[in-house]
Symmetry: C2
Subunit: 149 residues, 2 copies
Amino acid sequence: MISDDSLRHRMDLFRQRCLELGLAYTHQRMVIYKALASTNTHPTPEAVYEQVKREIPAISLGTVYKNIRTFTESGLLREVTVLHDSLRLDANLGDHHHLVCVRCKAIFDAPESEATPVRVPESLPDGFRLERCSVLFLGVCAQCAAAQQ
Amino acid sequence: MISDDSLRHRMDLFRQRCLELGLAYTHQRMVIYKALASTNTHPTPEAVYEQVKREIPAISLGTVYKNIRTFTESGLLREVTVLHDSLRLDANLGDHHHLVCVRCKAIFDAPESEATPVRVPESLPDGFRLERCSVLFLGVCAQCAAAQQ
DNA sequence: TTATCTGCAAAGCCTTTGCGCAGAT
DNA sequence: ATCTGCGCAAAGGCTTTGCAGATAA
């Protein structure tokens, strides 16, 4: 859960950004964003839909999807799942990290010398059994950067 | 690309593991695994299918999917995309990392004190413009660990 | 008033599943 | 000979799209 203060702050910022971006400040958008801003469980669109339905029973799942997309494209929201579009595979079972081009979704192996640069949190949630760690360096590959010009 | 030596080694290991696991060593499996083991582009199932078709034109996409699943479940292959099942969202735009339960797919925020534990590779691929970094700590949450007993 | 948004329903990926024949052990 | 895997086709999720009526600016 999120504190009331923090939620209020996020909602104020949301309204302000809607104005700046020329996005209509609709009741649906407000409730959808509130559902997202008031939790730290990183919900799926379906879960957001279920939450929003409590307040707006007639809401449609399509509207939730459309607005989630609008919000992420406007930088009001972030996807935890950067590469969720499709399964991507790796036959290299050794520890290594990846570079991902956020435009074309190309994945490159990070240089081997950087195999274990991650400091593991000292305090994990109670009872969480850590197994391994996945690091994605996100950016734009040379080809996409050139294409942009 | 992967060196001939390294590929040969991976294929030897593959054959050996198939024997150990009681997996039939079929021509299709060999070619599918070879397609995966000879690249470092982290292909999609579709891309693997296209590659395999060159050698086995009658191969079916379903077979590729079934074997990819078999391979990942046997530990012969790894998914770069840990959370590709569905979109997961985050309204917290500050830098922070995530803990993921590989069983129930719950996502928790990592403690804030660990905000930037990642050392950025000194040598990036030519022209790659790094923007940010996503870290997932993978493991089993308390609830799932308890359920397993 | 005009542009944008919503709800509904249909369509579009990506992936899994079921079944009968073929192939591996 | 038996068990497992393959190809085919159908079905199942998740997500996007198109359109007419409704709402915000």
